[in-house]
Homo-oligomer: 498 residues x 2
């Protein structure tokens, strides 16, 4: 057996452990009976630490060293080279992390997420506080092991968005803020738009029916995926053959499931369209969280909140929910695009959503540079909400405990959401340049042309290209918030007669 074959067999075993862990995670969030948590967490801890041990073992080092030698390297095809590089990066990043530190981190992650569910329910910050504190401390320690020469928060940001740093995000988010805040302020002065058509009674079965319809409309495959229910919608899988999404049904508001399904459907499409030749290489997943969010938010907002998309699908709404027979498409469209500062990020409109993310980014930055302590987080949260959105939560459930991310140790993750909006604006500009106006394409029912463009320029590569390379090759540009601000300005100026 050649070294490459041995290497691939070795990686296959790691992938097998990670596949099992993925299914266990999915099961834990969607199906697991309440009492099953302990065995799941135990198995997840074992599988992750086995996979981790293998990824930093002497055997792994041997393969990586051998395959990197000029003679071997010369014989590798492009995918195998990327595979070696990609795994080597992970190896270099992880090899210095002590095994017991990592095991503690994995264990804490599962326990903390479990505790969070209950704590959020009870609006109980004090129960979560020690978990947040240990989580931050562990993340700082791990970041130092990964790269002692970088600021810990920069190390964390790079885990989700390769090639980005705090300074770049700060600069880009300043541009974004300058574009978004004046729009939000201007809209506050305008008369309220009716959104009552989304309120009412919508059974889970009917919402699920609409969900499956929308998934089919955007091209999501149920032969390589599923739709289930979980507390917090997510996408998980082993691309491109088994990519599962979840949603959450609000029985009194249709938007919650419909737009989260379009959102997760966008993530799902990305993964389902990855080149199958990348299976088994570890490159068969989205290249970064930011690029991933660019796809989910593209389908949720740029497509899903576009009137011309609904021109071809609005009939289905009134077929499933007869009350919509009395609501015009125009009113429906305006209702789904109401801009209104609100407390919950995941329920925020397209515009104010960015401010929710910027708040979290600024708080994370402060938690990691030491200017903010966990105990003061609720107050800092309050202040930022007041400053950017003009409203404040009256409990932690709708405030600092609303998201699972920090409970799950995912510091550095939040910026991805706004980066996704920014990338999305850049993709949209390029698509319109190459294929013509999006409104026309959607009205003609040619969403698949857009989907094909995204597959060709983004999805298919998996991790073969880093995020900045994707943007560079697809849009001949760097990270740039201008296109999405232009899109927001055009759209909301018309919608609200600004």
């Amino acid at each position: 057996m050649s070294t490459l074959e041995q290497f691939k067999n070795y990686v296959k075993k790691i992938n097998d452990f990670e596949h099992a862990a993925m299914i266990l995670n999915w099961d834990m969030e969607t199906k697991m009976p309440k009492k099953g948590a302990k065995a799941h967490i135990s198995a997840l801890t074992t599988l992750s630490s086995e996979a981790f041990k293998m990824s930093i073992s002497g055997e792994m080092k041997g393969y990586l060293d051998t395959l990197s030698m000029p003679d071997e390297w010369a014989n590798l095809d492009e995918i195998s080279r990327k595979m070696v590089e990609h795994i080597k990066e992970g190896y270099e990043e992880s090899k210095n992390i002590p095994e017991d530190l990592y095991a503690r981190y994995v264990e804490l992650t599962s326990t903390s997420q479990n505790v969070w569910g209950e704590a959020k329910h009870n609006s109980d910050f004090e129960t979560m506080r020690p978990y947040f504190e240990e989580m931050i401390s562990l993340n700082k320690t791990m970041a130092q092991y990964i790269d002692p020469n970088k600021k810990p928060y920069d190390v964390l940001l790079n885990r989700y968005e390769k090639g980005i740093d705090e300074a770049t995000i700060t600069r880009t988010f300043e541009t974004l803020k300058k574009g978004v805040i004046p729009l939000v302020e201007a809209i506050k002065e305008k008369p309220k738009v009716d959104e009552s058509m989304f309120k009412g009674e919508f059974s889970k079965e009917d919402q699920e029916k609409l969900g499956y319809y929308l998934l089919e409309a955007i091209g999501y495959s149920l032969e390589a995926g599923r739709l289930d229910e979980s507390e917090h919608p997510f996408t998980i899988g082993n691309a491109p053959c088994d990519v599962r999404i979840t949603t959450n049904y609000d029985l009194t508001d249709l938007r919650s499931s419909a737009f989260s399904i379009l959102h997760e459907g966008g993530h799902g499409l990305y993964e389902q369209h990855i080149n199958p030749a990348l299976i088994g290489t570890t490159l068969n997943t989205g290249t970064s969280m930011g690029i991933h969010e660019s796809q989910s938010r593209f389908y949720e907002n740029i497509i899903g909140r576009n009137k011309h998309f609904w021109m071809n699908h609005y009939n289905k709404i009134s077929e499933i929910f007869p009350s919509y027979k009395n609501v015009s498409l125009e009113a429906f469209y305006k209702g789904m695009n109401v801009v209104q500062p609100s407390l919950i990020r995941t329920e925020a409109d397209e515009l104010t959503y960015n401010l929710h993310v910027i708040i979290r980014f600024e708080l994370e930055k402060a938690l990691f540079d030491g200017t903010l302590e966990v105990k003061d987080l609720p107050i800092a949260w309050h202040d930022k909400m007041q400053a950017y959105l003009g409203i404040v939560p009256v409990n932690h459930k709708e405030g600092v405990l609303q998201d699972v991310h920090w409970a799950g140790g995912m510091f550095g993750y939040f910026p991805s959401y706004a980066l996704g909006n920014i990338y999305g604006g850049q993709f949209l500009m390029q698509i319109e340049k190459e294929l013509g106006g999006l409104d026309t394409l959607l009205e003609k029912g040619e969403l698949m042309k857009v989907s094909d463009w995204l597959t060709e320029h983004v999805h298919t590569f998996g991790c073969m290209k880093a995020p900045m390379q994707i943007i560079q090759d697809a849009c001949q540009s760097h990270l740039d918030a201008t296109p999405i601000i232009r899109y927001y300005t055009d759209k909301y100026t018309k919608l609200y007669n600004l």
Copy 2:
């Protein structure tokens, strides 16, 4: 760390792999998207072979040897001793099997089961013949490696029912036959009973509603379990905290889901009631296939086909399915207890079911003692069906190819089903001795008293007691078919005015 702690940590890792494999298996049968099979099979293979390697490793031998030494042994508590013994038994059984023989067996098993699907579909015995032949030959060889001093068929029987042998089963099944056949013959002479109330249109949602109701009625916990749909009903889990059952919905016959849910619910109760102190010891599962079947068949038949059980629950049937408003409880009860010789074991009634199992046992015995060759199996099948049931299949699909067991190499498994009925009769007799008549208990809604008795005398022990020990301690008796025959005779004499 003490040797015992090290040993328990080592076993914990095996358990974690097996837990993950369990969830993957469950997912594959119930939820997995079609294209996901390859990754699941790959992960399952890796997890199983890792667990197997660990169970026969030098490290394992070291722990077992050390803990068996008098000084160490003296300090072990009762559960730890049983744990060592139980794992040692598995180790001893596996360690002598040559690796390539085992590999061939695993390979043949999956190929053979695959071929069986198609062969059954085509009613094609000739295609299966060589697989059956090699399967028997391999099973004989493996049995010799496991214990050269025993008859191979006895070794195989012991894998599913510790402490049993061919002679005991033969003797007990003779008694069973002598009790059952005259009843079946007598019933044949009686007028046909109406069972048309079970035929009609029953939506999946409604059947599911009934399913959950029945599970609650028998005390199955949804905090430690789930109900899902799969092609063939099964129970799978990690006892006692996560024990999942499945069913299959026949939209034109209510019996299929209702009684399979009671059946699997019985398996589920057994596992859910195992002493939690056994978690992590490998003793936290049913002690044998026969005892397991005794519980499932107890809830399916002895409880689930008892009129007095339904006195408290029949209202629910007509609440969910209004057509039952016109059917009396008496007619419903008679309809669910129709005795009618039929071709398919899994669809057989409570009484003739035993004969299906006895036929398979007698054929297996003959195949292993050399008095029957595989090529003559269809004729032998035909003759036994004629002799015991008075009907014969017109094709192999409804005959010798109907079950997957032989194709999967599971020779020695079939007797468990009838042993389950026999054990069930013994438990029933003892319960009535201690708690009073079952009919009265059920009519008074005191099923939980029965359930508590079963927990106390059967469930809680997991693998701490071998099957014969369970019977001995619970019923102060040996394996005895008399009680179940008495139950059959009483029940069907009344039902059919014999």
